[in-house]
Homo-oligomer: 502 residues x 2
Amino acid sequence: MEHKLAELKTRLLEVDDLQYAGAVLYWDQATYMPPAGASARGRQLGTLTRLAHEKFTDAAIGKLLDDLRAYGEGLPYDSDDASLIRVTRRQYERAVKVPATFMAEMSQHFNTTYTAWTEARPANDFNRVRPLLEQTLDLSRQLADFFPGYDHIADPLVDNQDYGMKAADIRRIFAELRAELVPLVKAITAKPLTDDSCLRAFYPEDQQKAFGEMVIKRYGYDFERGRQDKTHHPFMIRFGPGDIRITTRFNEHDLGDGLFSTLHECGHALYEMGIDQGLAGTPLATGTSAGVHESQSRLWENIVGRSRGFWEHFYPALQQTFPDQLNRVSVDTFYRAINKVQPSLIRVDADEVTYNLHVMLRFDLELEMLEGKLDIRDLPEAWHQRYMDDLGVTAPSDKDGVLQDVHWYTFNIGGAFQGYTLGNILSGLYYSAALQAHPSIPAEIAQGKFDTLHTWLKTNIYTHGSKLSASELTERVTGGQLRIGPYIQYLKTKYGELYGIQ
Amino acid sequence: MEHKLAELKTRLLEVDDLQYAGAVLYWDQATYMPPAGASARGRQLGTLTRLAHEKFTDAAIGKLLDDLRAYGEGLPYDSDDASLIRVTRRQYERAVKVPATFMAEMSQHFNTTYTAWTEARPANDFNRVRPLLEQTLDLSRQLADFFPGYDHIADPLVDNQDYGMKAADIRRIFAELRAELVPLVKAITAKPLTDDSCLRAFYPEDQQKAFGEMVIKRYGYDFERGRQDKTHHPFMIRFGPGDIRITTRFNEHDLGDGLFSTLHECGHALYEMGIDQGLAGTPLATGTSAGVHESQSRLWENIVGRSRGFWEHFYPALQQTFPDQLNRVSVDTFYRAINKVQPSLIRVDADEVTYNLHVMLRFDLELEMLEGKLDIRDLPEAWHQRYMDDLGVTAPSDKDGVLQDVHWYTFNIGGAFQGYTLGNILSGLYYSAALQAHPSIPAEIAQGKFDTLHTWLKTNIYTHGSKLSASELTERVTGGQLRIGPYIQYLKTKYGELYGIQ
C-alpha cells in the first residue's frame, strides 16, 4: 500500500504542478500582461487546464484509489492519508464526468470573455460581452448536465464550490437571513445618514499601500511567502505553500476601497498560509470550500478590520500617514464612516448589512438564467429591476450594473456567489467560537495583537486544508451546523450600537 | 498531406503552450516571486519541461515528419511549410536523443542552482554553489554524451545554441579576433584614461527607467506587446507573438548600467517582435541562433546606442531629464564616457573593445571543465588567473569573479557564451550590409529616426524567425559566411577616432 500511496502522490503532484502553473499564468494576465498577450495566454491556459484534467482523470488514478480504499478506511478519519484517499476520490469521481476537451474549451472561453470584460466595463458596453455571456450560460448548462439526476440544474455548480450544498439549501438559508436583514436595513435607513466624507479626501496610492501592508504584516501575512500587486478585481491566489499572493486596487478618492480589499484578500491568504505544509502538493492543500474561504476574508476584513477596537489601536498610525486628511477627524467619526450603512450599487463596496442583499440578488438571477427563465438579453434590465426592488437604488449604467463583478466573465454562471453570504454567516459562527475559547480576543485586537485569534483559527480551521468538508469542519469547530444566529447577533449588536437601535 | 500538416501543427502548438507557460513561470521567478516560492516553482518548471519534451518527442511527431518529408522537399526551400517540416525534423532528431526525465532533472537542478546563486553572489560565497556547479558539470557532460560521435565534448552543447558550429570553429574565429583585439586594446590603454565620472552622479531609478523606455519606443519596441521589469540579471523573454518582455536592473550611481541594458534587451525583443506572426505557435517563431540573437542586442545597444549621432539627437533630452547631473557636461564628454575603453572585471559592463576577451575567457574555461582538465574546485583561481593574463585585472572576490554571470547557474556548462562574441561579429557584418543598402542610416540615427534600419532588419532578418539557419541567413544577407572584417573595421574606425589611433 505504501507503494501505491506513493504512486498516487506522484501523480497528484504532477496535476498540482500543472494547476499552479496555470495559476501563475492567470495571475500574470490579471496584473502585468501587456494587452496583446491575451490570445496566446488564453490558449496556454486552456492547454494547462486540459492536461491537468487529463492527468487527474487518468484511469490509473481511479485504479489506485480503488486499491487504496480499504487501506484508507482503516486509518483514522482525519489522518492525512485517509483524508487524501477520501477527498481525492470525491474529486476524481466528479472530474471523470467532464471531458478534458470541455474543460479546455471552457477555460479558453473564460479567458476570451475576461479580456472582453476588461474592455467592455470601462466602455459601459454590455453588448460587447453579451454573445460571450450567452455562450457562458450555454457552457454552464452543459457543465451541469454532466451530472444528471440533480434536483436543480444549479446543484452540481453549487456543489463544486460549496460541497454538500444544493440550490434549495441556499434558498432556505438566504430566506431566513433576508427575514432578519430587511427589517434591520429598514431601521437603519430610517436614521440620519452617516457622514463618511472623511474617506473621500485625496489619499495617495503609495501611502495607502504602505499602510495596508503594515496592517497585514501585523495580522500575520508573511511577505517571504507572498506579495501584493494591483489588478482590476482583487483576488488571492496560491502557487504553492511558499507563494500565496494577494492583489488589490486603489482609489485615491476613497480610502476604504484599497484598504479593506487588502484586509479581505489577506484573510483568504492567512487561511492558505496556515494549511499544514505536509499536505502541500495534494488536493488537500487548499481551503475546503468557497464559503469557508470567504468566512476568513470577511472575518479579517470586517469583524476584525472594521471593529472599534482595531481602530482605537491603528487610527493614530493612519492619522500619521495622512495628517492633512485626518488630523481633524476623530476616531469615532472615522469608525462610523467605515461602517456607514447605505443601500448602494457596488457589491464589493457595500456595507456589512446590505452586502448580503447584493449576493442573494445575483444568486437568484443565476438560478433564473440556468432555469431558462431569464434571457441574457434581458439580464441588464432584470438587474436594474432587482436593485430597485431589493435596495431601492438604480445604476446609471451597466458598468455599475451587470458588468460590475468579474465572476460571470471568468467563471460559469451558477455557484460563484452563494459562498460570499455563506462566508459571512460562517464568519460570525467561527468568531463566536473563538471568543468562547478566548474571551480576551477583542481586548487584544484593541492593542493591535492578533496572535490568539490567528493561532486559534490556524489550529481549528486553517491547518486542515480540505481534509474536512465545510460541514464537518463547522460541526467540529462549533458543535453544530451552519446557522445564522451568531452572525445576525453580531450585526444587530454592532449596528444597534452605531445607529441607536434596540 | 494537408491533414497531416494540420495534425503536426496542433501537436507543436501544445508543445509551444507548455514551453511558453514555463517561460512565464521563469520570468515571474526572476522578477516578482517571493523567496519561499522557489522550491515549488522549481518543481513546476521541471514538470512543464518534462511534459513539453515528452509531447515533442512523441513517436507520432516522428511519424508525421516522415510522412511529410517528400511533401516538404517539394515546396520552395524557404516557404513556411517546407521550413517547418525541415527545422522541426532537425530539432526532433536532437530531442529524441535526450530522455524527458533527464530534461526535467536538469530543469529542476538549474532552478535550485539559480536560487542558490541569488544568495551566494551577494554573500560572496562560492562554496554555497560549488557542489551544485559540480552537478551542473556532470549533467552537462551527460547531456553531451547523448550525442556520441562528437569531435569535442562541447560540440553538441555549442550546436544547440549556435546550430552548425563546433568548438573548433569557434576556437579558430576567436583566435582570429583575438589577434586583432589585443593590439587594439594595447594601443588604447597606452593613451590617457577617459574621464567617465559624469556617469557616476546620482541618477534616480524612476527617471532612468522613463528615459530608457522613451528611447526604446523610438527604436520601435511596442509596449502593447511587451513591458519592462526589474531583475537580477537582465534578459528578454517571449511568451507568444503578442507578449515579448524585457527586464533590466538599475544602478543609481552608474547611468550606463540600466540604460544600455534596456537598449540591449530591446534589441533582442525587436528581433522577436519582427518575426512573421504567421509562424506563431511553431518552432520557427523564435530567433534562429544565440549568435544572430546577440547580433541584434549588440547592434541596438552599441552600434546604434553608443554612436555619436545617436547622442547628438538624444543628449539634450537626457540633459533635460538630469539637469543637475549633466548640464555642465558636453555631448562630446558624455560620448567619450559611454565609450571608455578600460580592461575591467564585469562582462556586462565591459566596453565594446575588451568585451570579447571576457567571452573568450569563459568559453575557454568551459572547454577545460568539460574536458576534465579543470576541476570546479579550482575554477575561482583559474578565473582570477585568466583575468590577470588577458585583461590585467584581478577581482577582489568571487562575487565579481566566478559568481558574476548567471549562466552557469541556470544553464549547462558549454554553449552559453560563444554566442555573445559571434553576435558582436555578426552585428558588424549585418550593419555594414544595411549601410550598403541604405547609406542614409547614420544620418537618420542622428535625427532620432530608426525606421529605415529597423525595416531593413525586419525584412532581411527578423521576419524569417528560425526558417533559415544562422549560416543560411548570413549567406543571404551578406553574400558570404561569418567573417570578422566589418566588425573589426567598425571597432578600429570608431575607437581610432576616439583615441587618436591610426
